[in-house]
């Protein structure tokens, strides 16, 4: 459902924003040649035929040829994909793990210097635009200290279709700054969410009742409260990964990271529609997958959903 809507939007992009022909041919092309090209590209077919062809092609990963770079979009994407995915995965790991830990800590210790400090910093983190953090890091670690590279992926090792930066020292070094930059904003967001969730749960009746039964504070915090508190975190984790992909556009621009975001931002500047629509479809696909995984996780974690589902099926 979501996929179809997004596919339709990107299709419309493709067709109605500017004239694709104009973008593909030069000024001196005659009208006959244009019409011929139109015919061969199938642009004279009814809209629904074009749309279904678009969907079929998209599902095969074909989005046509980039106006600007004159290469097939699928090729460009598959070239850039590993860089973005590695960056996003590392960032997501940093954001989720440290965000949850700090959030739980501040949620349990509502007062206290460390909590206040974490909270103040997290608020600052929400106020710091990603690109400002990036510039700051570059200035600090690359320009002043000179310990970490300020751009690129370092050396990459190619494993079949996949080129990874994880296997070389320079590759690992290169991913530190961009991934930390990318994760900071999301991390602070998760801290605040987990904290609010924990605080709310610690005030519920069942926590009070557990206290009244003499259950230890440790068990109350980590068994009773945390488990309930983590349920919404799953949703957030899902959205988080999606947002990270989007924000990787900025990080990739700042650090000149050769990923898809970098490609996309260039596409926007040059109105390179095929790349834009391909990127959009790709993002939507990732989101749908994440939502699907989140739903499955919910099924395993929240007994209220699980039991309901079992009752329906049997």
């Amino acid at each position: 459902m979501v996929m179809l809507v997004v596919a339709f939007v990107s299709f419309s992009l493709f067709n109605f924003v500017g004239d694709p022909i104009n973008n593909m041919v030069g000024e001196e092309t005659s009208d006959e040649e244009r019409a011929e090209l139109r015919e061969t590209l199938g642009l004279t077919d009814p809209i629904y035929v074009q749309f279904s062809r678009f969907v079929v092609n998209a599902s095969k990963g074909e989005f046509g040829i980039s106006y600007q770079l004159r290469r097939p979009v699928s090729e460009l994407i598959s070239e850039r994909l590993p860089a973005t995915i590695e960056l996003v995965l590392v960032s997501a790991l940093i954001a989720l793990v440290s965000g949850t830990l700090l959030g739980v800590y501040t949620g349990i210790n509502r007062k206290g210097f460390l909590s206040d400090a974490i909270l103040a910093i997290s608020l600052l983190g929400v106020s710091l635009p990603t690109f400002v953090i990036g510039i700051l890091f570059i200035y600090l670690f690359a320009v002043i200290l000179g310990v970490l590279p300020s751009f690129g992926r370092g050396e990459v090792v190619s494993l079949g279709y996949w080129s990874t930066g994880f296997l070389t020292l320079s590759g690992l070094k290169a991913i530190i700054l961009p991934s930390v930059t990318l994760s900071l904003f999301q991390m602070t967001y998760i801290i605040r969410l987990v904290r609010a969730e924990m605080m709310e749960i610690l005030q519920t009746d069942y926590i009070k009742f557990a206290r009244a039964r003499g259950i230890s504070e440790k068990s109350i915090h980590y068994k009773h409260a945390l488990k309930n508190g983590l349920i919404p975190v799953i949703t957030i984790a899902g959205i988080n990964i999606g947002t990270l992909i989007a924000f990787s556009i900025i990080t990739e621009t700042v650090f000149q990271w050769p990923g898809m975001g970098f490609l996309f931002i260039q596409a926007v500047q040059f109105v390179d529609i095929p790349i834009m629509s391909a990127y959009l479809v790709f993002i939507a696909f990732v989101f749908v997958m994440i939502n699907f995984i989140v739903d499955i996780l919910y099924y395993f974690i929240d007994p209220r959903i699980r039991v309901k589902a079992e009752a329906v099926s049997g």
Binding site: V6, G18, F131, V132, I245, A246, F247
Partner: protein, 308 residues
């Protein structure tokens, strides 16, 4: 209860919100900073003698002057100058005016659209609600910055290149506003669903009050608190989004630079040592966003009775 006349002023003074405001130094400080920034940005002509956009007043001789307290600094350029000899302090204030205008307009646009749709969806329910909520779902799956980029990209395709610079600011407001409305729609729908089930709404229906009046006279004032919180945080987000887009080069054009544009332009000089050209706009942006977020955070804690 005493019999003193409850004027509006007394009510404000007496309210819990005022009380917790007085008790919260962060809220006071951030409000103070914000008022200062707003004032300086909107009355910038009176605050600084320089007009960075008046070419006759600029001199390339002044270019790359470092901040006044450094060795080569000049007292008349407090924060130094950029590559064209523009006074950084004045440029920043003019830039923040643009950032604030874009931010406010985008939030108001998102607020009106989001609250209108969310309120009516929550109130009427049924298929209409389902369609609106599906729409927000779909849009929420696309991160806001991407949405804004996309709107901008489409606009570039539609609007001719010459017109684009003129239209850029409106495109930007529309792009950011469109990317933020689902938040408002969700919050106001959720709040409306709670309010709708309260008996005062039933009482009004039974009296015979029309749907439109119930929605705007009765429900709207009761859902404003969460909307206000989202609005404040949304303002910070909108300002950051504007800066980000401008930084990426798809926002406002360099001829009328906003904070983000300034940072992007200054970024090029970072490696050659002219750090102040990008540093001060960045710090200014962070202070602005941080103050708004502090205020929003305080508002959320105060206006949310659950956590008190």
């Amino acid at each position: 209860m005493d019999n003193k006349k409850l004027t509006w002023f007394n009510r404000v003074k007496d309210s819990d919100i005022y009380y917790s405001f007085i008790k919260s130094p962060t809220a006071i400080v951030s409000t103070f900073i914000l008022i200062l920034i707003f004032f300086c940005s909107f009355f910038v002509e009176f605050v600084t003698p320089y007009n960075p956009f008046d070419p006759s007043s600029l001199s390339l001789m002044d270019a790359f002057t470092p901040p006044s307290w450094t060795e080569d600094g000049l007292a008349k350029f407090i924060l130094g100058t950029d590559g064209q000899g523009r006074d950084m302090f004045a440029t920043i204030l003019y830039g923040s005016r643009i950032s604030l205008i874009v931010g406010f307009s985008a939030v108001i646009f998102a607020l009106v659209l989001g609250v209108g749709l969310g309120l009516s969806a929550g109130y009427f329910g049924g298929k209409y609600e389902m369609i609106v909520m599906r729409l927000t779902d779909v849009q929420l799956t696309v991160p806001s910055i991407l949405m804004a980029l996309l709107v901008d990209g489409i606009a570039r395709g539609i609007i001719s290149r010459e017109l684009h610079d003129e239209m850029a600011i409106y495109v930007l407001i529309f792009a950011i506003g469109i990317s933020e409305w689902p938040q408002f729609a969700r919050v106001s729908r959720a709040a409306t669903l709670v309010e709708k089930n309260k008996d005062y709404v039933s009482a009004s229906t039974i009296i015979g009050v029309s749907n439109l009046i119930i929605m705007f006279k009765h429900i709207l004032p009761n859902i404003l608190r969460p909307v206000l919180v989202i609005g404040t945080i949304g303002l910070a987000l909108a300002i950051i989004a504007e800066a980000t887009l401008s930084f990426l080069g798809v926002g406002v054009p360099p001829t009328t630079p906003s904070l983000g544009t300034l940072i992007r332009l200054g970024n090029d000089f970072l490696f050659s040592g002219e750090w102040w050209i990008t540093f001060f706009p960045a710090i200014f942006l962070v202070i602005l966003a941080f103050s708004i977020n502090l205020l929003g955070d305080w508002m959320r804690d105060t206006l949310n009775p659950k956590l008190n």
